[in-house]
């Protein structure tokens, strides 16, 4: 055990130790479409502005390797997001990617702000389990499509910089 002050280390952002791209599909429950829906609102918007401030959605969304909704899910994304800006659409996410395939078993835990006005936005991968034991990294979101309140799809570029 050695005593040292915190040190600055340099990681190359372009060289993650593991990287893959997945697509996140969110179909908001409308009250009767149980078979298709993958998420549901648990708190309503609050009236603070006109951009759904406070609306809170819980999801169990399929993750696919390409951007087709009906492609086989290689993981699930389980967690929640809520809208949190009064003068524009903006949201905040915390969720877990759950892998249970021959390719990967384990989870990645992710949180951060989805600055919807930005072309790309980075969230933190704060931990992992199983095949991703103790991992950390960055998840970069790009909106792939947005079809009203009913369906949206995000491209998530998963980059791990700490692998064990």
């Amino acid at each position: 055990s050695q005593f040292s002050s915190a040190t600055k280390k340099t990681l190359n952002k372009d060289k993650p130790c593991k990287r893959f791209v997945l697509y996140f599909h969110d179909i908001l429950f409308g009250g009767s479409d149980v078979a298709n829906a993958t998420s549901a609102a648990v708190a309503n918007e609050t009236g603070l502005g006109n951009f759904k401030f406070g609306k809170l959605i819980v999801f169990d969304d399929p993750m696919t390797k390409d951007n087709h909704l009906l492609s086989p899910a290689v993981a699930r994304a389980q967690g929640f997001y809520f809208y949190d800006m009064k003068n524009d659409y903006n949201s905040w996410f915390a969720y877990t990617l759950v892998f249970n395939s021959t390719e990967h078993k384990g989870t990645l835990n992710i949180m951060g702000v989805d600055i919807m006005a930005a072309q790309t936005r980075d969230l933190s991968i704060v931990g992992g389990t199983g095949d991703f034991f103790m991992a950390r990294g960055i998840a970069t979101f790009v909106t792939d499509t947005f079809q009203g309140a009913k369906y949206f799809r995000l491209k998530m570029d998963i980059k791990l910089y700490e692998c064990y």
Copy 2:
């Protein structure tokens, strides 16, 4: 400051730098049992399936060293969980273990999915404070008992792999 790409390191999952087991007791508020209850629902289930999808519970639960509800609490677990699957029971947790005893002072922050169908499931310990300054690790959940909607108990095996 040296420049390097992310490297793969190996940690031995069987050799945490700190480990202890605690039991989590959750007694859901029914409306009149203020003295006994330790958690309360803040959002109702949504009707997306029959497994409480979206039901959100805030808790301040006692943590004990053995699995007796009335054993002295050695920590509190403060946070929330919600149900998030439409075809089975499954939940997602984010919470803090708060220690304030002669043995330990400080907190551990934990998040991840509680895959209730699995025998054991791993969540990420994403940070710590006080005696657990900057810690990271894995919390492994095992269901110890489940008594309807009113009371459940989880065994939490806390393993730290980064200790400072």
Copy 3:
């Protein structure tokens, strides 16, 4: 790739690799004050005790360098908190500091318990992006003022111990 068990390392708590103080201003929406309000309740207190147990607030709060509400915001804090104790005021936070200035661009992701009865309390900075790529650290809260249910201000001392 080398095999090793988890090791105990020592970081000097007094020597973060980066440190700054910011003030967090929260003005709770009352139903008509859209122009001023920065946060809104999305779930009501549950009746478990008399300290707002379960009340859940989403916020997009300005962060300033001094403790004046009208000073220019150098960052936004976007996230949520809820009350979680039945016999005293206590709360739990998860949020993102969003920087978009010439001085800093990027985010810091933070979670933990705000033990309101304590003089100071530490939360975990669990990840960062942009200028704060992969950062970790501690955010120390001090209540600067508390004006009923309407406005409160926290001093947040941001200390990073992992910088890249």
